[in-house]
Point group: C2
DNA sequence: CATCATATTCGGCAATTGCTGTATGATCCT
DNA sequence: AGGATCATACAGCAATTGCCGAATATGATG
């Protein structure tokens, strides 16, 4: 695990916290992701445990950069003292090695989000599957590039932290190829969104394949840029 | 320019500001890098220009996440409205496409740093060249991997924002190969540091090559991890 | 049911921030 | 020389933060 990786992970965490409308929730996401209790974090920071709880619960709406930096550095220091497994785990998500124009955006939610909320945000129409679920993140993928260029190992990395996410494939023509690609890989997303399709143009093989893998499928005709923008704003 | 790139650049900027001991200086670095005046930024933010100056000058030691996020989003919005050239320019530095174990760390300084300060931070010994210069950043590179694996285009990207930087090559045996590689590429760094060498073991061809390219050369026997840690702390 | 660990709430208060508005100085252009 | 632009310093003040400590709530375990 290189110090460079650790520094970039710290930067990623700090950036995500700072840009969030709910920094407390993002604090908690990272703390629990690192398997650290509030008491342990408070001890490392030499503060009262209620301070950690105050922040995570949103009592402070605009924490200062000093306290954010201290919390991030403490999380990483605790993990380093335990061997650095979480730094490697989350750090590996930073090193995509995948061209920017294949993975167009990727995001992990601080807390579970209703699938209906995501589909609604992009004016999606559900084709099949259960929309009563929640998801933990999404990845927006250039469909053709992903299928043509990614190895199996790279393909698995578009899942970020969790397979309980939505994969949004852009500029698809019938939707068949993305579902075929998912069929032959070990991991299944919660939901697949086919961008650029109307419901009528969905290939008839899509629904049976999706149902075999218990994947919810939706379509959206929103432009790619708008999909990404709306998802980030939701 | 993908929205994903823009979001990751925003995250990078926010993270860097938050983790810095001088957030004001990092605000200024990004603002001037984007060619935006304080007045233009204030207008976009709908605030008084003195607020921007107050922050950049360090009057506020721990700005809140809300104001940091607003400033970062405003810089990016202004650039988008101008065509997005700076987003592409700085965003391209995020998409290394270079394996993490080649570029071990890379950093841009908010303001010029004396070369002697960097060399001192890593217990370096100057072999040749002028140490009275300043630098704007550094890149720590795995010497063997970089030379064996990087294309010419990839090699040029280890320069980050500026060639006025130090390149630190790790685990070198004689130091000849890095200087040869630099000789045959168009850009020259301000300084090359050869990690893992004592002054006696430097190949005799190093100094003549460095002098031809007006590059300062130093050596350090500090461990790689310590080099990266000390540089980040300096 | 008791105990323990973890988490949350909340009162309190000194310190700091967010922001306006005014004053000042430097630089550039006409 | 004068105006415009850019940047900085600073007084002032309402609002908010950083943090402690006590009390309370919740879930797991024996």
């Amino acid at each position: 695990m290189t110090p460079g990786l650790r520094n970039r992970l710290a930067e990623k965490m700090a950036g995500e916290i700072t840009l969030s409308d709910s920094p407390g929730q993002v604090f908690r996401k990272w703390r629990t992701g690192f398997s650290i209790s509030q008491g342990q974090l408070a001890e490392q920071l030499a503060v009262s445990p209620s301070l950690i709880s105050d922040y995570e619960s949103g009592r402070r709406k605009s924490p200062g950069t000093v306290i954010v930096a201290r919390i991030v550095e403490s999380l990483i220091s605790i993990d380093e003292s335990r061997g650095g497994n979480n730094i490697r785990k989350y750090g590996s998500l930073l090193v995509t090695g995948i061209a920017d124009d294949v993975v167009l955006d990727i995001h992990e939610y601080a807390e579970p989000v209703a699938l209906t909320s995501l589909i609604g945000a992009i004016n999606g129409v559900t084709i099949c599957g259960n929309t009563g679920q929640t998801i933990y993140g999404y990845t927006v993928v250039n469909s053709i590039r992903a299928i043509m260029e990614l190895s199996a190992e790279e393909f698995s990395r578009i899942y970020g932290w969790s397979t309980e996410r939505a994969l949004i494939f852009t500029e698809v023509s019938t939707g068949k190829s993305p579902l075929v690609a998912i069929r032959v890989t070990p991991f299944k997303p919660r939901c697949v969104v086919l961008q650029g399709l109307s419901r009528e143009k969905v290939h008839p093989a899509v629904v049976p394949m999706a149902e075999r893998d218990r994947i919810t499928v939706a379509v959206t005709e929103l432009a790619v840029d708008e999909v990404i923008r709306n998802l980030r704003s939701a």
